[in-house]
């Protein structure tokens, strides 16, 4: 069978340093996969390879069975993969509404149109309003993104990511820098807005990971040492030794 997302012996070197050392991963459509691992394990690099931000040194990525080699980020996005960023990456001088609308114009086929008014695009505007309600920013419609609180900006980041209706969603540490209660609320939001989609997420908060993911991939020094259900991963001796049992587990679980 073909997978929603499949990585085959993916490798990436920065100079002499091997950051990603032969990652194999196959994610079925509709699965929620969390990638965990210590700092510097290569989680963000892996996301950058999948989304086309970096080119892999060797190996392949397949999206719904199609090879992504040589494709640019916008081409990969058009094929149905969308990602968020660890460091909030929004359009600071545009309003919440405009931010979200920019996220979906391409997917609705408006492309580089400059002979239609935005105000007349009923489908785009209605969908933007829906999105705004989904991420609970409908009372901040005309607020510039730069003036939002941090948590609101994170929600907007997710909103832009899902706006185009991609079926494979990559979230890079969506709850980074949030308080415990914010995180709990935010994870619920993520679950709501990604229903039916394939989700790949990097997450540090262990409690959160076990509540969110169908499967967990453990990435340590550029290699996936385990890929299984949360229960199996929790009891995996290798994982416990390499990661969960390590002295810095408390650091990781506490967020950063």
């Amino acid at each position: 069978m073909s997978y929603a997302l499949e990585l085959k012996d993916l490798r990436k070197n920065f100079g002499q340093t091997e950051i990603i050392r032969g990652v194999n991963l196959a994610v079925k459509a509709g699965e929620r996969v969390a990638i965990i691992g210590p700092n510097g394990a290569g989680k963000s690099t892996l996301f950058n390879l999948i989304s086309g931000r970096f080119a892999p040194t060797s190996g392949d990525v397949f999206l719904n069975g199609t090879q992504l080699k040589g494709k640019k980020p916008f081409e990969i996005n058009r094929m149905g993969l969308s990602r968020s960023f660890q460091i909030t990456n929004i359009f600071p001088k545009l309003s919440v509404f405009e931010n979200l609308r920019c996220g979906l114009l391409w997917s609705l086929g408006y492309k580089y149109t400059f002979f239609k008014f935005l105000a007349d695009l009923d489908d785009a505007n209605a969908r933007t309003d829906e999105l705004m309600e989904m991420i609970k920013l409908d009372n901040k419609r005309d607020v510039l993104a730069v003036n939002l609180t941090y948590a609101e900006q994170r929600a907007l980041e997710i909103g832009i990511t899902i706006a185009g209706g991609a079926n494979v969603i990559l979230l890079d540490e969506p709850t980074a820098g949030m308080s415990k209660s914010e995180t709990t609320r935010f994870i619920r939001l993520i679950k709501e807005v990604t229903v039916g989609k394939t989700l790949l997420t990097v997450e540090h908060d262990m409690g959160v990971v076990f509540g969110l993911a169908d499967k967990i991939a453990v990435l340590v020094y550029g290699e996936v040492i385990a890929f299984d259900t949360p229960e199996a991963v929790r009891s995996n001796a290798l994982v416990q030794e390499a990661y969960l049992g390590s002295p810095d587990q408390q650091d990781q679980a506490g967020g950063h």
Partner: protein
């Protein structure tokens, strides 16, 4: 606007005629139609025509600078090449080898601008930021150098001249009289302004803003940022070419100065001074560019120096340009706080004038001694006559300038504090209103 719920598609369908918008565009048209009735002199109408030309070009430049975040140092390439092609077209019409009404020559200039923007744009728009600025500078220099190498097209040092009374005239309109040319330029100004404003309201126009704010993110919502910049660059080139062609009709001569870096700088400077963050900023910039040139270049030889000083102060203290200043004060006025500020504004104005007076007397004396020394030491400035070598005048003007600057700085600190407090009050008021709704 408050939140909208799932019936939102209806909300968007129901748009009663936007009275404000009709009013503004109606007023704009009225001003364009009636301006030459107020300024009936030939000089007045020439100035108005020039304003129209510079406004079109500044608006087109602002598509790059304000809307796309592209700092071009070579916009005159596209307006200037539009001028040259328009002039050659005009001469072909005169010679009878090309049949086209003169009223459509601006369109030819626009197509020329579009063509050259498409040609040079592909290498220019790879990235924004420093590489973009450098490449526009390079292309500007290239075209400037070529203008001296190819006299056939650029006319060498004398340039290319022509006569705008060309071809057959319909209804007795030859565009010979200034008033007829003014109305032609006003017509193009209105259409171009409307089209460029409409452009800001389209999907591409909005994505261009997104590319300005965060190009990387745009790549991850499906857009090729290079393509977005390229199309915007061509649109800007098209309108610049129209402006350039009207300039060719107006001056009836085009020289290599029209494609020079100096000319590009003029467009950059006035678009910035007018205010790049607002659409109407470029209109203010265009009007001021012509006014400043006509008025200050008569008043003093050192006017470019004053312009440079103004530019410096605006970059430092009001990066939003005059449009930004206007909008900030309108916001304060809308919340009824403007009357709290008038004393501060008065103090700022008076101290700035004192400092400026002192500085300008010294500048004028330096200019006089440098360039007009042969005419003696007597100098006329602001209907005063004084001796440029008089120590008392130097001391007095220096004292004025330093005192003015010192007091201005004090007033500025006081003003900033008041301004900050008022902004806080406004934020609180907004929050209070939100809570009520």
């Amino acid at each position: 606007m408050a939140s909208k719920h799932s019936s939102s598609s209806q909300v968007y369908k129901f748009e009663p005629i936007n009275v404000g918008r009709w009013l503004i565009w109606g007023l704009f048209a009225l001003v364009l139609i009636s301006a030459p009735l107020v300024f009936t002199s030939s000089l007045g109408q020439m100035i108005l025509t020039q304003m129209g030309i510079v406004i079109i070009i500044c608006l087109s430049y602002n598509i790059l600078l304000g809307q796309g975040g592209m700092l071009s140092f070579g916009h005159a390439v596209y307006s200037g090449l539009g001028s040259f092609v328009a002039m050659h077209t005009l001469n072909a019409i005169t010679a009878g080898s090309f049949l086209l009404p003169v009223s459509l020559v601006p369109l030819v200039g626009g197509l020329a601008g579009l063509f050259f923007a498409a040609l040079f744009g592909s290498v220019t728009v790879k990235t924004a930021g420093t590489p973009f600025a450098m490449i526009t500078l390079g292309i500007g220099e290239l075209i400037w150098a070529m203008s001296l190498i190819f006299p056939g097209f650029f006319g060498g040092e004398a340039g290319v001249s022509g006569n705008r009374i060309a071809g057959s005239s319909s209804f007795g309109i030859t565009f010979g009289p200034q008033i007829q040319l003014y109305y032609l330029s006003a017509f193009y100004l209105f259409i171009c302004t409307a089209l460029m404003f409409a452009f800001t309201r389209t999907p591409l126009g909005r994505i261009l803003n997104a590319v300005r704010d965060n190009p990387e993110r745009v790549e991850f919502v499906g857009y090729d940022t290079e393509r977005v910049r390229y199309i915007a660059f061509m649109v800007a080139g098209f309108f610049a070419g129209i402006g350039g062609a009207i300039a060719a009709l107006h001056f009836e001569i085009v020289t290599s100065e029209n494609v020079s870096g100096a000319r590009s700088t003029v467009y950059l400077l006035w678009t910035f001074l007018g205010g790049a963050t607002f659409f109407f900023g470029a209109i203010i910039g265009g009007v001021m560019a012509v006014l400043a040139f006509v008025m200050f270049s008569e008043l003093t030889k050192a006017w470019l120096l004053y312009l440079g000083l103004l530019f410096l102060f605006m970059v430092m203290y009001a990066p939003g340009g005059f449009a930004g200043l206007i909008m900030m004060n309108l916001r304060v006025a809308a919340f009824g706080f403007l009357r709290k500020l008038w004393v501060s504004y008065l103090a700022l104005g008076v101290t700035a004038m004192v400092a400026l007076l002192g500085a300008s007397v010294m500048i004028e004396m330096i200019y006089h001694l440098q360039f007009d020394g042969a005419l003696g030491d007597e100098l006329k400035f602001l209907s005063m006559t004084f001796n440029a070598k008089n120590f008392d005048i130097w001391f007095g003007s220096g004292f004025l300038m330093l005192t003015g600057l010192g007091l201005f700085e004090l007033c500025r600190k006081q003003f900033l504090q008041e301004w900050g407090e008022i902004q806080e009050d406004i934020e609180n008021e907004i929050k209070r209103r939100q809570a009520l709704s």
